[in-house]
Symmetry: C2
Subunit: 385 residues, 2 copies
């Protein structure tokens, strides 16, 4: 049985504080009367909680409304959540580029930046690029680094809970890299590192193609294909952070890698050459027979891998992302195959966020971390075995 | 945001009641002093809660301890949880047999029964057998039907939340059967229907091969292979209840069904003829070349299907169940293949519960249902977006 804190008055204070903050966040400004009505708390309780939140810098009293119909007597005090009380970064570290998104505590993006980086760049060079992009984004937005509350990072590879990359073949020097620790030296706030497909799944759920569903699989279709899944709206990382690493399924007797499947010559493509992949898709569209055959082989492989994910997890929705160009061609074969063997086939849609998905998901993970501190109550009061 | 009840005094009463009941369940008998210490509640609170639980029939005062060293003054009152205050049934409805397990509210099994049934028996005959077994088990244990608090049922097929079998090709008349509704006519308590592999996963976690792990995949290796998985100790059913129905993966271009793979002739085995399967395994052990080849084909297929589950879910542990005899031969190839392509391969073990797994899991699901009523507090007090 977990530790129970049901009788703890400070727990109730925290709950009430979280409830009021939550109500304030949903609107521009609210009166005490609004908050009393929305939260069901007593007016003295709401007053006490709001005073505490003002002291903590999270809430501010706004100026009384001007204009409009004049009201009798003193106007009601209005309060708003201070989204500017803290800031968050969502960072993508990929094979070809690093990017950063900046937001306030409301998650609204107020700054963005990106730099290209060579797929062969060693880890130090890649991290230098990250620092450059971050410094640039903060400077342009006028946000001091000390105001960051959390930083999320999305990157290829299997990532441990502490932010160490356990296996990352897509980037040089990535396997074994203590990425979380390295980045924490640049920030005085928590740094959350997550697999790129996992981050993208979170992003599509937040503001992409999957906002209507809590049970989704996001497929990062590429030469190193991966997948991230949400179950009941929560990221499913797996016991060792390797859930969705379906790319290894071909090792089980299927033999051919996507680099071979997509090649139109006898030579495999370079594992990270996404440009070459886009070219093969483009050629196929123009009717090139070898390219068509390559795309056909690749699609079959993708259908099989996604099929395995769908059978294992039974999601409501599959979101396919990766290279924006050409990938729409895999949707129809995927749908047809899933229709064939699934009793209730999931919907299959393209990513809406495209190349912004990983950074957006990283930002959301940073926001989740902060919201847990602001809005959640530690320890469940539900007694279970 | 969900409804919050943080300021509700009746919520605190319920929490306190759950906490005290939980403490009482863990032992034979406890004094008020024990309960005060364990729960951290005040003595008057504990006294009030215990009185309420006695009135509700869930707790009883036991006779003072006899013998041992005499103590000064009046002996402390001792209380115990009344496991006999209610009873639970776990029912297995399979192709070849129906079985039932009976327990009190502590989950200790106090009765069991089973009957063989033909795999070709229509649904009414199968349900009649269930009713016969249940009546027999209740009568022998001297438990009146009215004392049942919940009934769990494990059966092949994809089962909807309301207990309707959406697809069940293993049993005649099963697809579309409103199994939950039919059984609720026999019982005046909640009836929870679950897929057999899902129930078996719950069972192995409760008292089988997976008591040490919360992230498991249970594989019901058979001619209609299925799987159930627990994520963080909770059953993962999937959006439509079809998670783990990996048996359909062969439709994706792999072609051969297990009935073909295991056949030593040109004719496939009957889909439900598990006896024939056991014979093929036995023949292979004796060195029969055709049987060896059949087992080899079957094992490769199983390895691929389990591999897909492992890559999708990343469990800590894989439990293999199904036919008790012969199945141990698949463990080693499975381990070798998973070692090859998993960074952190899951442990692979045989089911401990064997043919008792499905009924045991059904019982646990019934117990979960009752425990949720007894020990849990409705509605989280955690405010989230």
């Amino acid at each position: 049985m977990g530790r129970l804190t049901g009788g703890d008055p400070s727990l109730l204070r925290r709950i009430n504080s979280a409830v009021v903050l939550h109500a304030l966040r949903g609107s521009d400004a609210r009166t005490l009367t609004d908050l009393t009505r929305i939260t069901g708390l007593s007016r003295p309780t709401v007053e006490g909680v709001v005073e505490g939140l003002i002291e903590g810098g999270l809430v501010v009293e706004t100026a009384p409304e001007e204009g409009g119909a004049r009201r009798q007597g003193r106007p009601a005090r209005r309060f708003r959540f201070r989204a500017e009380a803290g800031h968050l970064l969502g960072i993508e570290i990929g094979p070809h580029r690093v990017a950063a998104l900046l937001s306030g505590l409301d998650g609204r993006i107020i700054g963005a930046g990106a730099r290209e980086v060579s797929e062969t760049a060693p880890e130090d060079e890649r991290l230098d690029k990250v620092r450059t992009v971050v410094a640039d984004v903060l400077r342009r937005a006028g946000v001091p680094r000390s105001n960051l509350r959390a930083v999320g990072v999305g990157t290829p590879g299997i990532v441990e809970a502490d932010g160490t990359v356990r296996l990352g073949t897509a980037l040089p020097g990535w396997t074994g890299l203590a990425l979380g620790e390295r980045l924490r030296r640049s920030f005085r706030c928590p740094v959350i590192v997550e697999n790129d497909a996992n981050a993208a799944a979170v992003a599509e759920h937040w503001k992409g193609a999957a906002t209507d569903s809590d049970d989704i699989v996001f497929v990062l279709a590429g030469l190193s294909p991966g997948a991230g899944s949400l179950i009941g709206g929560r990221l499913h990382r797996g016991y060792g952070g390797a859930a969705g690493e379906i790319g290894a399924l071909h090792l089980l007797g299927r033999g051919e890698t996507p680099e071979h499947l997509l090649s139109t010559t006898d030579e495999p493509l370079h594992p990270l050459d996404e440009q070459a992949v886009a070219e093969v898709f483009a050629l196929a569209k123009k009717g090139d027979v070898r390219a068509e055959a390559a795309v056909e082989r690749f699609t079959q492989r993708l259908v099989h891998d996604v099929g395995a994910l769908v059978l294992a997890l039974d999601p409501e929705l599959v979101v396919v992302g990766g290279w924006a160009a050409g990938l729409d061609g895999v949707l129809q074969p995927l749908r047809e195959e899933l229709d064939r063997f699934c009793l209730r086939p999931p919907r299959v849609v393209l990513s809406i966020l495209g190349e912004a998905a990983v950074g957006t998901g990283a930002l959301r993970l940073a926001l989740d971390h902060v919201e847990e501190q602001l809005f959640a109550v530690e320890g469940s009061v539900t007694a279970r075995r």
